[in-house]
Amino acid sequence: MDAGLDKVDAIFEKETAIIDGVDISGPWNRMFKERVIWEYTPELIDKVADLPGGESFAWCYQCAKCIPVCPVDMVGNYGPRKLYRMAQTGTDLHKSEELWLCTTCANCLRVCKKVVDMVQIMPAVREQAVLDGNVPEELQKAFEDTAKFGNPLGQGQRKRAAWTKKSDVPVPIMKKHGQPVDVLWYVGSYPSYHPRGIDAALAAARIFNALGIDFGILGPEEKDDGDTQRLAGESGLFEMLAEHNIAMFNKYEWNTLVVTGPHELNAFKKEYPKLGFDRSALHYTQFLVQHLDQLKPMLKHEIKATVTFHDPCYLGRHHGEYDAPRELLRAIPGLELVEMGRCRENGYCCGGGGGGMWLDSFTQNHTTMRLSERRVLEAVAYGAEILAVCCPFEVSRFEDAAKSTGNDQLKVLDILELLDQSMRG
């Protein structure tokens, strides 16, 4: 017999097998011995590492520090070290379903001694997969909706400012406003269209008005920032959206750009500059904290509740902002802020980043529970009655997760909503 081949036929099948009274005789009880690694495939590592942005994939020396902090591994079997080994032993990441599980939360990068950067690697490989047409269906739909409608929710572009009609305070739209503003507020897709996102947008409008902020929004001239689509592999779509938004930003006079969402913050601070945008941006928590002295006396009504705060990956790890949201929460009278074990730099991921927002069904086939469900269970375990968030992806994700895990009592509220409640009672 040829050397080594003795392992190939190592298949076990009992003639009769009854487990817990169930007869599983036949092929049902067939077991294979551990699969032999016949071939190492360093070329599949090179295939990733040779892409611009993919270089650091080849640097992994298998220390495995990334695994315990990988939010996907916590509900499944995942992480950069494992992806490296899979590539080394025959998995073409370009064609693998594993490609779509990473949320680019960057917690692996935080602890990586070799600076293996999945935030660069993932979009690099996904871009190729998109070009090859290897994209999960539901993600493809989000891409198509974004391309067609300017937002991943598939809602009409002209209706982007429809939410302002519900506002009991003025929300100036730049095109009609006809004059410079101090603050240009980039609302974002979910706060513009999603019912729970609109709640946060309305709250923001009231807070801005109460503070006497001279602000305006782009309304129908605003399109999705596209950064999450870029991280999910659609760099062409991203560039198209970015060029549009940059043109709109440049069309009007303003001093400060304020965003509702951390993903937009990432787009405008880190990615748009590569396309010529030379202004900065602030997340709303960073902006409001600058007005805290003025805001504090307005927060008259107590919110008597135990509240925990979920750090958005793209506000915390990606932009280093941990304090502004907490300062706002602490300014609310009656509110008791408790920290979850995984918070700040080690905050757990909601599962929405890097395209995860549009891959929930796909991801479910690879995980024991949703990342958002895992997070909700942690919030409940720490005694939270309210889970406070400040990323528009999160309200709907966590509300669904609270329901699906039987924790309806847990309220999920944007910090904007909490501030607004405290102001208005």
């Binding site: 040829d2 551990e34 032999v36 690694i37 190492y40 360093p42 590592i45 020396y61 298998q62 032993t89």
Partner: protein, 349 residues
């Protein structure tokens, strides 16, 4: 009373010790068994030095020239020390060569007899080294790299797929070499880089227990090997090598995958460790100094913390004669031993 320092062995350690003794204004007599200086790097035609990537021959020639050009250094090649009598400051060595023997007076002795590469054929016929031509050692590979002739010995053709197996003859209770040979992880990584430079189409793997890259070897050897030269490191040692047609099948367990592995290769390089050289063993007996259980000269002296002291006052040990050492270790200990030897002579006087 003699102010001469007798240096036994003219490899890197002996040459550096002689140069330092001479530079400090004292006289060194170097006794070398071979008919030329340069030691193991010369004998085994080392290509580039680990970790500096300097051409070995060029660097050794510079060192030899610096040592032997000095009027304060006397070189006796094809010679061996047959006996050593007396006390520190007042020693008499009997030197033998092909034509007879003579006595040399010395105040102190520096032993620089180095190591030998572990012989993978010893006792166990490890990995079929003596039966499969395409199983070679890192020492064999040095010569191939130097000649820019990295080939499968069985065919004379360049290999497409090469793998290193680490810790051959080291960290092994059965063989008796329980120690880590310290340099092989770095040397394998250096050689992997050189193979990839000389044969860009080749694939190189390294099977290891754990990579031991102390200090700058991590960033000067391991990281470039993996990141720039795409050398594949797989944790788990190969247990057996079997013939597979005209190629080799290596079998082991990939421990991070928890799966068996069976990989076909063209050339397997055994990262053999260090053992005390025959000269080190013989000289330790002749000079009547203690050896450790592995046969290296026991260093440490009465304080146990002096790396160049032996059990006999006035006799110092340098380089790999006292245990696995890289060139940095060797140069450090050579300089220290030169200073200690001169200090011992001055105190004795």
């Amino acid at each position: 009373m003699s102010e001469k320092v007798l240096i036994i062995g003219a490899g890197p350690a002996g040459l550096e010790a002689a140069r330092t003794v001479a530079d400090l204004g004292y006289t060194a007599v170097m006794v070398e068994k071979r008919d030329r200086v340069g030691g193991t790097p010369d004998e085994f035609h080392y290509a580039q030095l680990t970790h500096h990537f300097r051409d070995s021959e060029e660097a050794m020639n510079e060192l030899a020239a610096a040592a032997t050009a000095s009027a304060n250094v006397e070189l006796l090649t094809s010679s061996q020390v047959a006996a050593l009598e007396g006390e520190v400051g007042n020693l008499t060595a009997t030197i033998q060569n092909g034509s007879g023997s003579k006595n040399i007076e010395a105040g102190a002795v520096i032993l620089a007899t180095g190591f030998q590469h572990f012989d993978p054929g010893r006792e166990t016929q490890y990995y079929n080294y003596y039966s499969f031509p395409d199983v070679i050692t890192i020492a064999d590979l040095e010569g191939m790299l130097k000649a820019h002739q990295v080939v499968r010995p069985s065919t004379g053709q360049p290999p497409e797929r090469v793998a290193f197996i680490q810790c051959v003859g080291s960290r092994d209770r059965q063989i008796g070499n329980e120690f880590c040979s310290k340099v092989c992880c770095g040397i394998a990584s250096k050689q992997a880089i050189e193979i990839r430079q000389q044969l860009p189409d080749s694939r190189v793997m390294i099977f290891y227990i754990d990579m031991r890259m102390y200090g700058y070897w991590e960033n000067e050897l391991y990281w470039p090997a993996q990141e720039q030269y795409r050398v594949n490191y797989v944790k788990g040692l190969v247990s057996e090598i079997l013939p597979k047609g005209d190629r080799l099948l290596v079998r082991g367990e990939d421990t991070t995958m928890g799966r068996p592995m069976e990989v076909v290769l063209d050339l397997v390089v055994l990262s053999v460790g260090m053992e005390p050289s025959a000269g080190t063993r013989a000289m330790a007996a002749t000079l009547n100094i203690e050896q450790n259980k592995y046969g290296f000269v026991a260093a440490g002296g009465s304080t146990r913390i002096d790396p160049v002291a032996t059990s006999r006052p006035g006799i110092f040990v340098v380089g790999a004669a006292s245990g696995p050492a890289d060139l940095d270790d060797t140069f450090s200990s050579a300089g220290l031993a030169a200073a200690r030897a001169i200090a011992a002579i001055r105190r004795a006087g």
